[in-house]
Symmetry: C2
Protein backbone atom coordinates (compact mmCIF):
# COMPACT_ATOMS: atom_id res chain seq x y z
CA UNK A 1 0.00 0.00 0.00
CA UNK A 2 2.45 2.68 -1.18
CA UNK A 3 0.07 5.58 -0.69
CA UNK A 4 -0.37 4.91 3.04
CA UNK A 5 1.11 7.52 5.35
CA UNK A 6 2.08 4.90 7.92
CA UNK A 7 1.29 7.32 10.74
CA UNK A 8 -0.66 6.41 13.87
CA UNK A 9 -2.77 9.58 14.00
CA UNK A 10 -6.49 8.95 13.30
CA UNK A 11 -6.62 11.69 10.64
CA UNK A 12 -3.81 9.97 8.73
CA UNK A 13 -5.50 6.58 9.13
CA UNK A 14 -8.72 8.00 7.68
CA UNK A 15 -6.77 9.45 4.76
CA UNK A 16 -5.04 6.10 4.21
CA UNK A 17 -8.51 4.77 3.41
CA UNK A 18 -10.25 7.64 1.60
CA UNK A 19 -7.44 10.11 0.85
CA UNK A 20 -6.32 8.82 -2.54
CA UNK A 21 -7.14 10.89 -5.57
CA UNK A 22 -10.73 10.26 -6.84
CA UNK A 23 -11.85 8.16 -3.86
CA UNK A 24 -13.90 10.89 -2.19
CA UNK A 25 -15.58 11.75 -5.49
CA UNK A 26 -16.56 8.09 -5.92
CA UNK A 27 -18.12 8.23 -2.45
CA UNK A 28 -19.84 11.50 -3.30
CA UNK A 29 -21.50 9.87 -6.30
CA UNK A 30 -22.70 6.94 -4.18
CA UNK A 31 -24.12 9.29 -1.55
CA UNK A 32 -25.87 11.45 -4.13
CA UNK A 33 -27.10 8.83 -6.59
CA UNK A 34 -27.32 5.56 -4.67
CA UNK A 35 -26.19 2.27 -6.28
CA UNK A 36 -24.23 2.78 -9.49
CA UNK A 37 -22.62 0.82 -12.26
CA UNK A 38 -18.96 1.08 -13.23
CA UNK A 39 -19.95 3.02 -16.35
CA UNK A 40 -21.92 5.52 -14.28
CA UNK A 41 -18.73 6.47 -12.44
CA UNK A 42 -16.81 6.77 -15.70
CA UNK A 43 -19.44 9.21 -16.90
CA UNK A 44 -19.52 11.44 -13.80
CA UNK A 45 -15.78 11.35 -13.07
CA UNK A 46 -14.44 12.91 -16.24
CA UNK A 47 -10.74 12.21 -16.47
CA UNK A 48 -10.49 9.03 -14.40
CA UNK A 49 -9.05 5.98 -16.16
CA UNK A 50 -10.80 2.61 -15.99
CA UNK A 51 -7.71 1.18 -14.27
CA UNK A 52 -7.73 3.83 -11.55
CA UNK A 53 -11.49 3.57 -11.04
CA UNK A 54 -11.24 -0.20 -10.74
CA UNK A 55 -8.39 0.06 -8.21
CA UNK A 56 -10.26 2.63 -6.11
CA UNK A 57 -13.47 0.58 -6.04
CA UNK A 58 -11.54 -2.57 -5.16
CA UNK A 59 -9.83 -0.81 -2.31
CA UNK A 60 -13.13 0.56 -0.97
CA UNK A 61 -14.55 -2.96 -1.20
CA UNK A 62 -11.54 -4.23 0.75
CA UNK A 63 -12.32 -1.77 3.55
CA UNK A 64 -16.00 -2.78 3.42
CA UNK A 65 -17.03 0.78 2.63
CA UNK A 66 -18.44 -0.20 -0.75
CA UNK A 67 -19.95 -3.54 -1.78
CA UNK A 68 -20.94 -4.98 -5.13
CA UNK A 69 -24.01 -6.93 -6.11
CA UNK A 70 -25.29 -8.45 -9.31
CA UNK A 71 -28.68 -7.32 -10.52
CA UNK A 72 -28.79 -9.32 -13.74
CA UNK A 73 -27.54 -12.76 -14.70
CA UNK A 74 -27.47 -12.88 -18.49
CA UNK A 75 -25.24 -11.06 -19.01
CA UNK A 76 -24.10 -10.50 -15.41
CA UNK A 77 -24.38 -6.84 -14.42
CA UNK A 78 -22.92 -5.48 -11.23
CA UNK A 79 -23.62 -2.33 -9.27
CA UNK A 80 -21.75 -0.76 -6.40
CA UNK A 81 -23.37 0.57 -3.23
CA UNK A 82 -22.40 1.99 0.15
CA UNK A 83 -22.33 -0.42 3.09
CA UNK A 84 -23.45 0.63 6.56
CA UNK A 85 -19.80 1.40 7.31
CA UNK A 86 -19.60 3.45 4.13
CA UNK A 87 -22.59 5.51 5.24
CA UNK A 88 -20.68 6.57 8.38
CA UNK A 89 -18.53 8.70 6.05
CA UNK A 90 -21.52 10.96 5.39
CA UNK A 91 -20.54 13.71 7.86
CA UNK A 92 -17.08 14.03 6.24
CA UNK A 93 -18.65 14.43 2.80
CA UNK A 94 -21.14 16.93 4.20
CA UNK A 95 -18.35 19.12 5.61
CA UNK A 96 -16.39 18.99 2.34
CA UNK A 97 -19.55 20.01 0.49
CA UNK A 98 -20.41 22.84 2.88
CA UNK A 99 -16.89 24.22 2.81
CA UNK A 100 -16.81 24.16 -0.98
CA UNK A 101 -20.09 26.04 -1.20
CA UNK A 102 -18.92 28.71 1.22
CA UNK A 103 -15.23 29.11 0.48
CA UNK A 104 -14.22 27.55 -2.83
CA UNK A 105 -16.14 29.51 -5.45
CA UNK B 1 -2.68 23.12 -11.61
CA UNK B 2 -2.52 19.52 -12.86
CA UNK B 3 -4.00 17.99 -9.73
CA UNK B 4 -7.25 19.95 -10.03
CA UNK B 5 -10.31 17.90 -10.90
CA UNK B 6 -11.76 20.69 -13.00
CA UNK B 7 -15.28 19.79 -11.84
CA UNK B 8 -17.91 22.28 -10.73
CA UNK B 9 -19.17 20.30 -7.72
CA UNK B 10 -18.33 21.94 -4.38
CA UNK B 11 -16.81 18.71 -3.00
CA UNK B 12 -14.39 18.60 -5.94
CA UNK B 13 -13.58 22.29 -5.52
CA UNK B 14 -12.75 21.72 -1.85
CA UNK B 15 -10.51 18.80 -2.81
CA UNK B 16 -8.80 20.94 -5.46
CA UNK B 17 -7.61 23.08 -2.53
CA UNK B 18 -6.94 20.59 0.26
CA UNK B 19 -7.08 17.19 -1.43
CA UNK B 20 -3.46 16.80 -2.48
CA UNK B 21 -1.36 14.26 -0.63
CA UNK B 22 0.02 15.68 2.69
CA UNK B 23 -2.03 18.89 2.66
CA UNK B 24 -4.58 17.78 5.25
CA UNK B 25 -1.81 16.55 7.54
CA UNK B 26 -0.13 19.94 7.31
CA UNK B 27 -3.42 21.52 8.35
CA UNK B 28 -3.81 18.97 11.15
CA UNK B 29 -0.43 20.01 12.58
CA UNK B 30 -1.39 23.69 12.44
CA UNK B 31 -4.69 23.00 14.21
CA UNK B 32 -3.04 20.89 16.89
CA UNK B 33 0.17 22.82 17.49
CA UNK B 34 -0.48 26.38 16.36
CA UNK B 35 2.20 28.32 14.46
CA UNK B 36 5.04 26.12 13.21
CA UNK B 37 8.34 26.37 11.44
CA UNK B 38 9.19 24.54 8.22
CA UNK B 39 11.41 22.16 10.21
CA UNK B 40 8.57 21.34 12.60
CA UNK B 41 6.54 20.00 9.68
CA UNK B 42 9.50 17.98 8.41
CA UNK B 43 9.74 16.37 11.84
CA UNK B 44 6.05 15.47 12.23
CA UNK B 45 5.42 14.46 8.60
CA UNK B 46 7.85 11.58 8.29
CA UNK B 47 8.36 10.82 4.62
CA UNK B 48 7.53 14.20 3.07
CA UNK B 49 10.26 15.78 0.95
CA UNK B 50 11.29 19.40 1.46
CA UNK B 51 10.23 20.12 -2.12
CA UNK B 52 6.75 18.72 -1.59
CA UNK B 53 6.32 20.43 1.76
CA UNK B 54 7.38 23.74 0.26
CA UNK B 55 4.96 23.34 -2.65
CA UNK B 56 2.06 22.43 -0.34
CA UNK B 57 2.69 25.39 1.98
CA UNK B 58 3.02 27.76 -0.96
CA UNK B 59 -0.28 26.56 -2.37
CA UNK B 60 -2.05 26.95 0.99
CA UNK B 61 -0.60 30.47 1.20
CA UNK B 62 -1.93 31.15 -2.29
CA UNK B 63 -5.43 30.20 -1.13
CA UNK B 64 -4.99 32.34 2.00
CA UNK B 65 -5.52 29.32 4.22
CA UNK B 66 -2.02 29.57 5.68
CA UNK B 67 0.10 32.69 6.14
CA UNK B 68 3.74 33.19 7.03
CA UNK B 69 5.32 35.68 9.39
CA UNK B 70 8.85 36.41 10.50
CA UNK B 71 9.54 36.24 14.21
CA UNK B 72 13.28 36.96 14.10
CA UNK B 73 15.39 39.23 11.92
CA UNK B 74 18.99 38.03 12.32
CA UNK B 75 18.83 35.47 10.92
CA UNK B 76 15.29 35.76 9.56
CA UNK B 77 13.07 32.99 10.88
CA UNK B 78 9.60 32.32 9.53
CA UNK B 79 6.65 30.47 10.93
CA UNK B 80 3.42 29.37 9.32
CA UNK B 81 0.00 29.82 10.86
CA UNK B 82 -3.67 29.36 9.98
CA UNK B 83 -5.56 32.40 8.73
CA UNK B 84 -9.20 33.02 9.66
CA UNK B 85 -10.14 31.31 6.40
CA UNK B 86 -7.89 28.39 7.32
CA UNK B 87 -9.69 28.01 10.64
CA UNK B 88 -12.97 27.44 8.79
CA UNK B 89 -11.54 24.04 7.78
CA UNK B 90 -11.74 22.92 11.42
CA UNK B 91 -15.02 20.96 11.05
CA UNK B 92 -13.59 18.93 8.16
CA UNK B 93 -10.53 18.01 10.20
CA UNK B 94 -12.74 17.16 13.16
CA UNK B 95 -14.81 14.72 11.08
CA UNK B 96 -11.70 13.06 9.64
CA UNK B 97 -10.35 12.67 13.17
CA UNK B 98 -13.59 11.29 14.60
CA UNK B 99 -14.00 8.79 11.79
CA UNK B 100 -10.41 7.58 12.18
CA UNK B 101 -10.89 7.04 15.90
CA UNK B 102 -14.10 5.07 15.37
CA UNK B 103 -13.52 3.19 12.14
CA UNK B 104 -9.86 3.11 11.11
CA UNK B 105 -8.12 1.20 13.89
Amino acid sequence: MPSSYGLKCPVARTLDIIGERWTILILRDLFLDGPRKFQDFERSLAGISATTLSARLKRLEGYEIVARRFYAEHPPRAEYFLTDKGRTLGPILKQLLDWGIRHAR
